[in-house]
Symmetry: C2
Subunit: 202 residues, 2 copies
DNA sequence: TACTTTTGCTAACGCTGTTAGGGAAGGTAA
DNA sequence: TTACCTTCCCTAACAGCGTTAGCAAAAGTA
């Protein structure tokens, strides 16, 4: 049955060909100008061929979204594992998030609906609990170390604040990037997060 | 010359007719499905007529953007004026921002590029200094009251944090609205902002 | 009444996502 | 080798989008 194997291999190759070609277009020209026809043109096939491998354009975007979330979560998890101290873990996660966002602008914009593409990213978002587990545990620990009581309710509030500081800072820098130096922006993140962590301990 | 007056009046009437019709479409179906043809259809004129009143579709979006920013700034300024205490001013501004965002989802999404529309909102954003002045002054006061020194550099950092908390919380709730009650979300904002203000005073 | 401006239309161009239908090629069985 | 069937991949179209050229009718002016 080596002939069906070859076929499967070719199908898989075409799929990744479509994806890498699409990715190249996005990196060169942005999400806005990614079109089925452009992909077809670049891979030197006619348009309907794309639809043999993806149900529609959204399916392609969702595929990228999935990849983006996977990579982000991997980075965050690695950052968390880089230190045993819970406060340092939170700082490390924040830094990793920041770095990911600007090293992978295209991913970030797609994942949070900031670029052009109109597509319900919910469909490729990982379980909310994954993000929760990453941040919630060290946060509870920090709070508990400070006042020795059960801190879950408080941590639930702080959890949202943590992500909003991160996402908010990134968003603002992405929308209006020009006015400050790279240096200053990193300072803002550091200040905000260390301020946040300090506040947890009170 | 009452005849040219009537003409000016009619031109103005048509312009607002286009805008209110477009706004209705947006409220009913979202930014995604606002199209020149749909507007033309609704006002019962042919498509090119729209272009006698607006240079292109972006010009219509920019008009809405301008309106949105004006309304937002008015709300924030009113909130600031509602109390003389600088710490309370910050809290009031944050609350007003929050309320505006969810009472005017369409505006907010357009202004910060969260909906579909692809259009450079920079072109209708007010001077950055307007936002700065609203928040920076009370912030410096709060910091100064606490430690009596010059606080401008510090306030510059905190300024970004303030907006990122706000924008971040709003964004996250808009992307993933369903999982918590209205009540809890307001709690998160309160906690984050009071935590932030408390941190200023240290 | 004759001329000019304004108004608003039809029809098109080039782009988008998506799909129907057919021809050619590849693989299978007699 | 011939007959058949599946798979592949194309052309051509549909319906929608923003935008514009060009023309006919209406409105205003002399």
């Amino acid at each position: 049955m080596s002939i069906v194997e070859r076929r499967l291999r070719e199908k898989e190759a075409m799929r990744t060909n479509i994806l890498t070609t699409a990715w190249q277009i996005v990196k060169d020209e942005g999400w806005q100008s990614l079109s089925i026809r452009k992909i077809a043109d670049a891979i030197q096939y006619s348009v309907p061929v794309i639809y043999d491998y993806f149900e529609n354009k959204d399916a392609i975007l969702l595929e990228f979204g999935k990849q983006g979330f996977e990579q982000l979560i991997a980075k965050l998890a690695a950052a968390k594992d880089s230190t045993p101290d819970p406060a340092e873990q939170l700082k490390a996660i924040a830094d990793a998030y920041w770095i990911f966002a600007f090293k992978n602008k295209e991913f970030y914009q797609l994942m949070w609906g900031m670029g052009a593409p109109t597509c319900e990213m919910d469909k490729c978002m990982p379980e909310r609990s994954i993000f929760r587990d990453l941040v919630m545990a060290p946060m509870i620990e920090v709070i508990n170390k400070a006042n020795g009581e059960d801190a879950e309710t408080n941590a639930c509030l702080k959890y949202h604040t943590f992500w909003s500081i991160l996402h908010g800072l990134v968003s603002i820098k992405m929308v209006a990037p020009a006015d400050d130096t790279e240096q200053l922006n990193k300072l803002v993140l550091d200040d905000a997060i260390t301020g946040f962590i300090k506040n947890l301990k009170i």
